[in-house]
Symmetry: C2
Subunit: 324 residues, 2 copies
């Protein structure tokens, strides 16, 4: 069983499931596993470490995968895009910043431009850049994101795209960790889903084993959108873009006291770095979305894809049977 | 066409659509119109004005309707519950507070207990009270609500209810303004939806005509979760429960400066009250959810119900057709 959508046609994939390009988590092995299972794996370009990206594209072997970037970070090192395009990625996903300076090079390399957006204004900018796929990302997503929630954002952007650029399409992200979420995304007008946290807790992800175990044990309410991990790491994110992470001792101490943290970086940044290197989850960030409620194991990515598809089929058939 | 679910069976209604009991907006005429159209109308008990409630039950005539209360406010005037139960409501919905002190009287009056919840802990408390219907309310909802988003909250609570109280059921609320939202709710494991903002902008709602026009014109991004309207009105809401409203001059001035507002109430409260009485939308609150993107007119409530059902049918059939 599969679901045929405009996304599966556009990308030449079997299942309408994209791996979120999670920095330091979505490596080549995980991206390859998602592609092998019939979705499309996107390697996490993160803040742009050239050696890491070369290594992870090598780890993906000859599998068809893509890559995602933090746009405002890529803008500081635009040559990185050419380096990645040399690996012939199936798609490039740009999030958090103006995609327009990069669109022409992506098209010229025969790669597909995916733009992740958090609002109507972002969506208009992405369409202006010629994006063929818009990922409508809700605030329930793990990692960096905005304020709008997935359920009402997806149909609003589906209507916008249908009116302005009917050749383009919307993919849903944020809170989707099982097949019910995929089924819901399709009824809301999306052509597929982008899944992060569920794949973080997979066998192939580069996340620390402790982090995967914490995600599998965590509830959605244990997550919080916060800037404290960006402040302590010295990352200068745009206004209103925060990172959803599991609450820990560090958020308990600093979330809500951001100015005090910014004033204490000389002491706190070295402490944070040491804790992160030691894999100390009480201090180090574990990005995770509200879908954590729906995650309670750490299986291979291929098992996750197969489960999502089977659950989506059941959910759609059960809902359609209720029509009387 | 209709959708048969456990909610329609339980409540003896035709369509799985509940009117959110919006204080000062969901009066008897609107509740009756939703019930006439095949859903169930819930009159908005708000902060508990006895004369208003008697009048609105009278306005509902002999239609089968229910009533919703702000639980922490009802706890200050528990006799109000008996007054409303004397009108033989089909259901009583309790939100924002411990429902357990009221459950036995509701059951004894042969009314159905609906509890609106914003988290797993709230859900456990509602099940402990014997609630038969749990409304899982996402943060994208208009008016008062919590922090969790609808799309991941609904399946998490559906799993919880299935494990703990399989005779009970989940209804989805927050961001649902059209039939795509209803279809998504069903695939997520809900048995129906509770709809607020869409019915605010209806012919029968008691909202001011200016407020209805603003909702019809507004985008989801023009809404914000804030406490400033509660502070200026002197309502003491529980921690972490805020109200989603349209941004206006008042939120621009005070949102983020809550302490300053609390210190300026002697001047600001009379100003606010005068503005609210004058229908001045630049100052007065208009509660609205992120589904505002999907609302662009002010039709009769019966038209809204019929549209939601037709759209849900289309969305479910289109999604099911993608199964290959």
């Amino acid at each position: 069983m599969t679901l045929r959508t405009r996304l599966t046609e556009k990308l030449g994939i079997v299942h309408p499931i994209l791996l979120a390009p999670m920095g330091a988590v979505s490596g080549g092995r995980l991206a390859a596993a998602v592609s092998d299972a019939g979705g499309l794996g996107l390697i996490g370009g993160g803040y742009g470490d050239t050696a890491w990206l070369d290594r992870e594209f090598a780890a993906a072997g000859n599998r068809r995968v893509g890559c995602g970037f933090i746009t405002w970070s890529l803008a500081k090192n635009p040559a990185l895009l050419d380096r990645v395009l040399a690996h012939a990625p199936a798609a490039i996903m740009l999030s958090f910043g103006d995609p327009r300076p990069f669109a022409a090079r992506i098209r010229a390399a025969n790669s597909i431009l995916i733009c992740q957006v958090q609002s109507r204004d972002h969506a208009l900018q992405a369409l202006d850049a010629g994006a063929e796929i818009l990922v409508a990302q809700g605030t329930e997503a793990g990692g960096h994101g905005g304020t709008r929630a997935t359920l009402p954002l997806v149909p609003a952007l589906a209507d916008l795209v249908a009116a302005r650029a009917p050749g383009a399409m919307v993919v849903a992200a944020g809170g989707i960790a099982d097949g019910r979420g995929l089924a819901a995304a399709l009824t809301l007008g999306a052509e597929g889903v982008l899944v992060g946290t569920r794949f973080y807790a997979s066998a192939e992800s580069l996340g620390h084993a402790n982090a995967k175990a914490r995600i599998a044990a965590a509830a959605g309410e244990e997550t919080v959108r916060t800037s404290v991990f960006d402040i302590v790491r010295g990352h200068d994110w745009p206004d209103r873009i925060t990172g959803r992470a599991l609450r820990n001792d560090f958020t308990a101490r600093w979330h809500g006291s951001e100015r005090a943290l910014a004033a204490a970086l000389e002491r706190e940044t070295p402490r944070y770095k040491a804790a992160a290197e030691a894999g100390d989850a009480a201090t180090a960030v574990i990005f995770a979305g509200e879908g954590a409620d729906l995650i309670d194991d750490v299986p291979p990515a291929g098992v996750i894809v197969a489960r999502i598809m089977a659950e989506a089929e059941r959910a759609l058939e059960a809902a359609a049977r209720r029509l009387a």
